[in-house]
C-alpha cells in the first residue's frame, strides 16, 4: 500500500486556486519531491495531507486512511515538518519533545524518555536539551523540529522546506538524515522544496508544480533527459589525430553531428549511454589517441527553469 495517494487534489481560497488537480503516489521507502517556486501550492498540499485543511475537491489517502474521513488516524501516522519550525520558544528542547511525544500518544514516561534521548542524540542536541528553544541556533531549531516530527515513529513524513535557511553544513546533515530515513527505515517521505539541490540529491520522483498545477512528473533523471538539451559528448584527442577519426565517428549509429574545436571534438548524440563506448571504440580503431571523454549532463535546474518559464 502506498504511503500517500493523492487523486485530483484541489484547494481553492475564494477565487484563487492554490492546488489544481494534483495526483501522485509516494511508496514506502521513497522520497517524492514537490518542486516549485514560492506560491506554487507546495505548502497547501502538505497541509491537506496533514489534515490541517480540507481539499475543495479530490481525495487523498495516507497509509490507506482518507484525510477527510479519518483525520485523527492520519495524524497519528504522519510526522510533519511545517514551513516554520513551530517550536515553543519559552520551553526547553526537552520540554518541547516531551509535549509532542505525549500529544502523539507515547503515554509511558520511560518509553517517551528513551525515544527523546535517541532522537536528541541522533541530532546532536542532547547536550542542549535543557536550553530554551529561543537560545538555539536556526539550524538547531530546524533539527529539533525534524526530531519532533519523528518522535512517534511515523511511517509517513511530510517535510516542508527542510533545509530552508540552513547553512551548507546543516543542510547536508538534514539531507543525509532524510536519505537514511527513506533507505534504512523505509518511510514514505514527501519533500516540498524550491531548492533544486535537495530534489536532485534526495528524491526518487519529482513533481514540478507551478501555480498549483503539475507541469511535469518523473525521476530527476527522466526529467533531465526529457527536457534537457540534446546531449553533446566532448572528446579531447592527442593533437594531430582529430581529422583522422571524424569519418569513423560519423558512421556510428545515433551520432547526429561532429564538430572540431582544436584538439576537442563535440559529438551530438541521440542516446549517449549506449553510443559513448561505440564512439570511443571507433576513435581508437581509427588510430586516434583519446586524452579525455566528458559527457556533461543537463541539470535538473535547467529542466526546472525551462518548465516554469514554459508554464508562465
Amino acid at each position: 500500500m502506498p504511503g500517500i495517494q493523492a487523486d485530483g487534489l484541489e484547494k481553492k481560497f475564494g477565487s484563487m486556486t492554490a492546488v489544481d488537480r494534483l495526483s501522485f503516489e509516494v511508496e514506502e521507502g521513497e522520497v517524492f519531491g514537490l518542486l516549485g517556486p514560492n506560491g506554487a501550492g507546495k505548502t497547501t498540499t502538505v497541509r491537506i495531507l496533514a489534515c490541517l485543511i480540507s481539499p475543495t475537491r479530490g481525495s487523498a489517502k495516507v497509509c490507506g486512511f482518507m484525510v477527510t474521513e479519518q483525520p485523527s488516524l492520519v495524524r497519528e501516522r504522519v510526522g510533519v515538518l511545517t514551513e516554520n519550525p513551530c517550536l515553543y520558544e519559552r520551553l526547553t528542547a526537552y520540554e518541547n519533545m516531551e509535549f509532542f511525544a505525549e500529544a502523539y500518544g507515547i503515554s509511558i514516561k520511560a518509553e517517551r524518555n528513551e525515544r527523546i534521548r535517541e532522537l536528541l542524540d541522533f541530532f546532536e542536541l542532547w547536550d542542549r536539551r535543557a536550553d530554551k528553544v529561543a537560545a538555539l541556533s536556526k539550524g538547531m531549531k530546524q533539527k529539533l523540529a525534524i526530531a519532533r516530527a519523528l518522535v512517534h515513529k511515523p511511517p509517513v513524513l511530510l517535510l516542508d522546506e527542510p533545509t530552508a535557511g540552513l547553512d551548507p553544513e546543516s543542510a547536508k546533515e538534514v539531507r543525509d538524515m532524510v536519505t537514511q530515513l527513506s533507505r534504512r527505515e523505509k518511510r514514505a517521505i514527501l519533500l516540498s522544496t524550491h531548492r533544486l539541490e535537495d530534489a536532485e540529491k534526495l528524491c526518487n520522483h519529482v513533481m514540478i508544480i507551478d501555480r498549483g498545477r503539475s507541469v511535469a512528473t518523473g525521476t530527476p533523471e527522466s526529467l533531465r533527459k526529457k527536457l534537457g538539451k540534446t546531449p553533446v559528448l566532448e572528446v579531447t584527442l592527442q593533437p594531430g589525430s582529430v581529422t583522422l577519426v571524424q569519418d569513423a565517428i560519423r558512421r556510428v549509429e545515433s551520432v547526429r553531428a561532429v564538430t572540431a574545436d582544436g584538439p576537442r571534438l563535440l559529438i551530438t548524440l541521440d542516446d549517449p549511454d549506449s553510443a559513448t563506448p561505440k564512439v570511443v571504440g571507433a576513435i581508437v580503431r581509427a588510430g586516434g589517441q583519446v586524452l579525455s571523454v566528458n559527457l556533461p549532463k543537463p541539470s535538473l535546474e535547467e529542466t526546472y527553469l525551462k518548465l516554469i518559464r514554459r508554464a508562465s
Partner: protein
C-alpha cells in the same frame, strides 16, 4: 471524545509558557496586588487624614443617592464609619471585578492568539489531539489562574480592610461578607469564563495578542457602567442582583462556549493563516 489526560497535557504546556512570560505574569500579579492593597488605603486613609470630610456636603449627597437598602446598613454609623463602609464594601465591589476580566483576557489572548502570532499553532493542530481537548486545555489554563488570582486578591483585600478598620468599627470585622463572597466565587468565575469564550472567538479572527486583548476588553464596558450605576445610586449590588447577574452570565457562558467551539476549528484557523 475528550480525553482528560490530553486536556491536562495542553493545560500544563500552556501553564509552563505563561509562567515564563513576564508580559503575562506581571499584570497577572501586580494589578490584583495593587487593587487588594491600594483600594482599602483609598477607602480608609482620607477619612483618617481629613476627619471633616466624613461630615462634608459631598458625603451627604452621596449617602442620599444610595439605595435605601444601603442607607439602612449605614444607619447608626458615624460619618467616618459610613464613608469607609460605603467605599470598601459597596463602591469598590464592581471595580474588583476588573481582576477576573483582566487576568482571563491576558492569559487567553496569549494562549490562543499567541500561538498564531508565534507561529506555533500549525504543529499543535497537526497532532492527533482533538479540537475539544485543545480548546478545553486552553480555556482551563486561562480560567483557573483568573479565579485563583481574584480569590487571592480578595483574601488580601479582606485582611487589609479588616486590619485598617478593626478599631474604627469597635472590633467588628467587615469581611468576609455575603455579597462579596457571591461576587468572588459566583460572578467572577462566570465573568472570567465569558471573557475567555469571547477571546477564543476573537483570537480565531485576529492575528496578534494585542488585538485580541483590546477587543476582549470590551467586557469592561458593562463593568464601568456598573461602577457608575453604583456611584449614582441607580443600582445597588445586593445579593439578589448578584445572583440574577450570575445566572444570566452562566447562560451567556453556555452560548459563548458553543460559539467558541465552532470558532476553534482547525480548518477555520488555518484558512485564516493561509
Amino acid at each position: 471524545m475528550v480525553r482528560l489526560r490530553k486536556v491536562a497535557l495542553v493545560f500544563l504546556k500552556d501553564w509552563l509558557e505563561i509562567r515564563r512570560n513576564g508580559e503575562v505574569l506581571l499584570p497577572l500579579l501586580i494589578v490584583p496586588l495593587l487593587f487588594a492593597v491600594m483600594l482599602p488605603i483609598i477607602a480608609v486613609l482620607p477619612t483618617l487624614a481629613i476627619p471633616s470630610w466624613a461630615s462634608s456636603e459631598g458625603l451627604l449627597t452621596l449617602v442620599k443617592a444610595l439605595p435605601g437598602q444601603v442607607r439602612e446598613q449605614i444607619a447608626g454609623m458615624t460619618g467616618q464609619q459610613a464613608i469607609v463602609y460605603i467605599m470598601a464594601l459597596y463602591l469598590f465591589a464592581p471595580v474588583f471585578l476588573i481582576i477576573p476580566i483582566m487576568a482571563s483576557s491576558v492569559i487567553a489572548s496569549d494562549s490562543f492568539a499567541g500561538e498564531k502570532e508565534r507561529k506555533t499553532i500549525e504543529a499543535l493542530l497537526a497532532t492527533p489531539l482533538s479540537d475539544g481537548e485543545m480548546l478545553l486545555g486552553k480555556m482551563l489554563v486561562s480560567f483557573a489562574p483568573a479565579v485563583i488570582v481574584t480569590a487571592a486578591a480578595f483574601a488580601v483585600y479582606s485582611v487589609v480592610v479588616d486590619y485598617l478598620t478593626f478599631s474604627m468599627f469597635g472590633g467588628r470585622l467587615l469581611f468576609p461578607n455575603t455579597i462579596w463572597l457571591s461576587l468572588i466565587f459566583g460572578l467572577s468565575p462566570s465573568l472570567a469564563f465569558a471573557d475567555i469564550g469571547l477571546t477564543v472567538i476573537i483570537s480565531a479572527r485576529v492575528k496578534g495578542v494585542k488585538e485580541a486583548q483590546q477587543i476582549s476588553a470590551l467586557l469592561l464596558i458593562p463593568l464601568v457602567a456598573a461602577v457608575l450605576g453604583q456611584a449614582s445610586g441607580a443600582m445597588a449590588l445586593d445579593p439578589s442582583l448578584v445572583t440574577t447577574t450570575t445566572m444570566l452570565l452562566v447562560a451567556f457562558d453556555i452560548i459563548i462556549f458553543v460559539a467558541s467551539v465552532k470558532a476553534f476549528g482547525r480548518g477555520r484557523i488555518l484558512a485564516r493563516l493561509s
